[in-house]
Structure formats: structure tokens, C-alpha cells
């Protein structure tokens, strides 16, 4: 093994070197301060190691059990607590949101119904007003047209008379111009026949 190589090498190389140089203070060390065999098996050092190990473990145990572990447990518990309460709060808020949405939907439906009702009312009102106005207008139109018909009949009668008169005069003049002598009675009857025809 490597240690043996080392020991052999050092023995060979320093066999003649002065022993005082390598101030050997342990049976586990060679004259140059190197390890003889495994330092782990050196009984001389074990007491020291065990003593300091016990001191170390006791210190660590007290630090852990008095300070560190309760503190970390506290931190973890606190975090768990805040997470739980946050989750509860979130659940609560979710409920509220659902309620708010329901209220909103209800309000919306109500508003829709109300609007529909108002529209229907307005339509009915407009329809009735419109019907009334149409009836009124129809009546007025009927009255006006009757009046007009009457006026037209009058005008037509007037026009006939005027035509008769003009025809009578014209015929008399024509007959006179042709050298005849027309009596009024004949012309009138002739025109009457013509105009009827």
C-alpha cells in the first residue's frame, strides 16, 4: 500500500538524516512527522477526538433543540397557518364573487323584462294614437272628397250651361252669316239634341 511505500522511501532516504529534525511527538508519527500506518488507528489520539466530538455534539444538540428546531417549526407552522387562512379567504371571496354575479344576472334579467314591458307599452300607445289619427284623417279625407265632388258637379253643370250658351250664340251667328234667319227656339232644340247625343 501507499503508506508502506512512503515509510520505506523515507526510511531509505532519511536513514542517515539527523533524528532531531523531525521532532516526533507521537508513537503514530515517524521521525519526519509522517503517519505510520493509518492515523485512524492511533490510540493515542482517540481520547482527544472523542472528547471534542462529545463537546461538539452536545453544543449542536442544545443549539438545535433550544433555538433552531423550534424556530424552524414555528416558521413552517406560521406559513401553513397563513396559507390555510389565505385559502379560506380566497374561498370566501370566491363565494362573494359568485353571489355578486348572481345579483348582477338577476338585475340584468329584471332590467330586460322592464325594458320589454316599456317597449310593449310604448308600442301599444303609439299604435292606438296612430289608429286614432288614421281614422281622423280618413274622415277628413272623406269629407273633403265629398265636398270636392259637389264642387266638381257644380262646375260641370256650370260649364254645360256656358257651352249651351256659347253654342247657341255661335250657331245663331253662323246661321245669320249664311244669310238665314234663325229663330231661337229651333237653335236651342238643335243644340239640346246635339249635346245629348
Amino acid at each position: 500500500m501507499a503508506t508502506e511505500t512512503h515509510a520505506a522511501a523515507t526510511d531509505a532516504a532519511h536513514g542517515a538524516a539527523d533524528a532531531a529534525h523531525g521532532a516526533t511527538t507521537s508513537v503514530c508519527l515517524n521521525e519526519y512527522g509522517g503517519a505510520i500506518g493509518m492515523p485512524q488507528l492511533c490510540g493515542e489520539w482517540m481520547g482527544n477526538q472523542v472528547f471534542w466530538l462529545v463537546v461538539t455534539l452536545v453544543v449542536i444538540f442544545f443549539v438545535l433543540s433550544k433555538i433552531a428546531l423550534p424556530r424552524i417549526a414555528g416558521i413552517l407552522a406560521e406559513r401553513q397557518g397563513s396559507i390555510t387562512s389565505d385559502l379560506a379567504a380566497a374561498e370566501d371571496l370566491k363565494h362573494k364573487a359568485v353571489e355578486a354575479e348572481e345579483a348582477y344576472n338577476k338585475a340584468l334579467a329584471d332590467a330586460r323584462a322592464e325594458a320589454g314591458r316599456i317597449v310593449a307599452e310604448a308600442k301599444a300607445e303609439i299604435q292606438s294614437e296612430l289608429d286614432a289619427e288614421i281614422a281622423k284623417a280618413d274622415a277628413e279625407i272623406a269629407a273633403k272628397s265629398a265636398e270636392s265632388e259637389k264642387a266638381i258637379a257644380e262646375i260641370r253643370a256650370g260649364a254645360l250651361e256656358a257651352v249651351k250658351e256659347v253654342a247657341k250664340d255661335t250657331a245663331k251667328e253662323i246661321v245669320a252669316a249664311m244669310g238665314g234667319k234663325a229663330d231661337a227656339k229651333t237653335i236651342t232644340s238643335a243644340i239640346g239634341t246635339r249635346m245629348k247625343g
Binding site: 501507499a2 503508506t3 511505500t5 512512503h6 522511501a9 523515507t10 532516504a13 532519511h14 538524516a17 529534525h21 523531525g22 521532532a23 511527538t25 507521537s26 503514530c28 508519527l29 519526519y32 512527522g33 509522517g34 503517519a35 500506518g37 493509518m38 492515523p39 485512524q40 488507528l41 492511533c42 493515542e44 489520539w45 482517540m46 481520547g47 482527544n48 477526538q49 472523542v50 472528547f51 471534542w52 466530538l53 462529545v54 463537546v55 461538539t56 455534539l57 453544543v59 449542536i60 444538540f61 443549539v63 438545535l64 433543540s65 433555538i67 433552531a68 428546531l69 424556530r71 424552524i72 417549526a73 414555528g74 416558521i75 413552517l76 406560521e78 406559513r79 397563513s82
Partner: protein, 263 residues
């Protein structure tokens, strides 16, 4: 990393090492030497050594991560706090899943072991570092503590019912005594495998890196050696975490056996 460690050793006896520079020299185990931080005296039980330094750094790292990192107590965590919470959740879930709900009262102990091992392993990967968990004395103490604890907990919770762990009632009656012997042996081997697995993994990885580092001194193969160090370093990062995880999860498994010995 290993080269630097090597150079500190070389500084102590530089001239001699320079002489033998022509031949390839390996010092893969020198990085595991325990030495006093101050002076050159012998290593006694209470001497402040590199073990003390690197264990203290592990403690400091754990405090930085788990105490300072969480000091803001943010509901929305920052980066360090996330890692701290992740480590907490990871070990907590492991204890809960493996050892059961009643194993959770031992969670701080398992967390202590896991955090220490993972930090010591990671710190050991720093250049010039000393890997405390590569020493069998360290891992054996932890494994023995776990072994004794779960044995005591087992008898304390179940009385002599704990012995039913070794009496496999689902096996045919003829086989049960043989299985019981195997179970008892495997039970007592637990601390051995538990500790050697961790120390062995850490030691092997670091020693291999150092061997490749020695090869890097040869110009012809140094690119390959550097590539190999990089690859092994990546592997060692993985191993550092996995071994800490394995140590902790085995502790949980042993704890489960102690709490619920009936198969």
C-alpha cells in the same frame, strides 16, 4: 487539496523531501494526522487540535445555517432559510416515514447527528481541511451512542418484549432458533458496520484524491491526474451527503426496531 496538506508536512522536513523528488512519493494518510493547533506538544485528551478546529467550524456552519439563516423568520424564505427549512423537512420526514410518529420525539437527536456528519463531510472537502468524520474513533462513538440508545429505548418501551425482535414469528418454528442467532449477531454487528461505513467512505475518498494529487507531480500524466481529482471530488461531494443520509436513516431504522420490535 491533498497537495497542500502534503506541502505543510513537507515544510517541516522540506530538504529531505526535495532530495527524493525524483521518485514518486505518496503521503495519502498524512492528511488524517491529528496535531495540536498551538505548539508541537503531545496530543492529550483536552489538547486543542485540528479536530477541535474542524468540529468547531462544523458547529459554526450549523449555527450559521440553522440559526442565523432563519433569524428573519420570513414567511417567504430567502436562500439560506430555504436550505435550513429543506434540511429540517428532509430529516423530519425521514424520521416520520421510517421510525413512525412516535419516533418524532427523537428527531432532535437524529437531526444533530445528520447535521454534524453532513457538515463535517462537506467541510472536509475544502482544501487543507481535516475530515473529522474520516476517523473511526469519531464515527464509532456516534454509532455506539445510537446502538446503546436504541437498545435502552427498546427495553424501556417494550420490556422483554423487545427480544421478540430476534424471534421471527413469521418463519417456520424449526428455523426460528437459527434465525434468532443470526439476528442477535447482526444486531451486535450494527454499530461496527454503522461506524466503519462512514469513516471508511470518507477516508477512502480523501486518500484516493491525495494519491492522484501525487501523480499530478508527474508532467506526463498530470492532466489525467487533475481530471481524475476533479471527477473524484464530484463523487466525494455526493458521497459526503449520501453517507450522512445513510447514517441518519440507519439510525431511524434502528429506532423503529426499538419502538416496534414485532415484525
Amino acid at each position: 487539496m491533498a497537495t497542500e496538506t502534503h506541502s505543510t508536512e513537507a515544510a517541516a522536513n522540506g530538504a529531505e523531501h526535495a532530495e527524493e523528488g525524483s521518485s514518486l512519493v505518496f503521503h495519502p494518510m498524512d492528511q488524517f494526522i491529528v496535531k495540536p493547533l498551538f505548539g508541537d506538544g503531545p496530543v492529550g485528551t483536552f489538547t486543542i487540535t485540528n479536530v477541535t478546529l474542524w468540529m468547531a467550524l462544523a458547529v459554526l456552519s450549523i449555527i450559521l445555517l440553522l440559526v442565523v439563516g432563519t433569524s428573519r423568520r420570513a414567511v417567504v424564505p430567502g436562500r439560506t432559510q430555504s436550505i435550513a427549512e429543506l434540511a429540517y423537512g428532509f430529516v423530519y420526514k425521514m424520521v416520520e416515514d421510517v421510525a413512525g410518529k412516535d419516533g418524532l420525539r427523537y428527531f432532535p437527536y437524529i437531526m444533530t447527528l445528520f447535521m454534524f456528519i453532513v457538515m463535517a463531510n462537506m467541510l472536509g472537502l475544502l482544501p487543507m481541511a481535516f475530515t473529522t468524520t474520516s476517523h473511526i474513533a469519531v464515527t464509532a462513538v456516534m454509532a455506539m451512542v445510537v446502538f446503546l440508545s436504541v437498545t435502552i429505548i427498546g427495553f424501556w418501551k417494550n420490556g422483554f418484549g423487545f427480544l421478540s425482535l430476534f424471534w421471527i414469528s413469521s418463519a417456520p418454528l424449526v428455523l426460528r432458533p437459527i434465525l434468532a442467532i443470526i439476528e442477535v449477531i447482526s444486531y451486535f454487528v450494527r454499530p461496527v458496520s454503522h461506524s466503519i461505513r462512514l469513516a471508511g467512505n470518507m477516508m477512502a475518498g480523501h486518500a484516493v484524491i491525495k494519491v492522484f494529487a501525487a501523480f499530478a507531480a508527474l508532467l506526463a500524466i498530470s492532466p489525467f491526474a487533475v481530471l481524475a481529482i476533479t471527477a473524484i471530488y464530484a463523487l466525494e461531494l455526493l458521497v459526503s451527503f449520501i453517507q450522512a443520509y445513510v447514517f441518519a436513516i440507519l439510525t431511524c431504522v434502528y429506532l423503529k426496531d426499538a419502538l416496534h420490535p414485532h415484525h
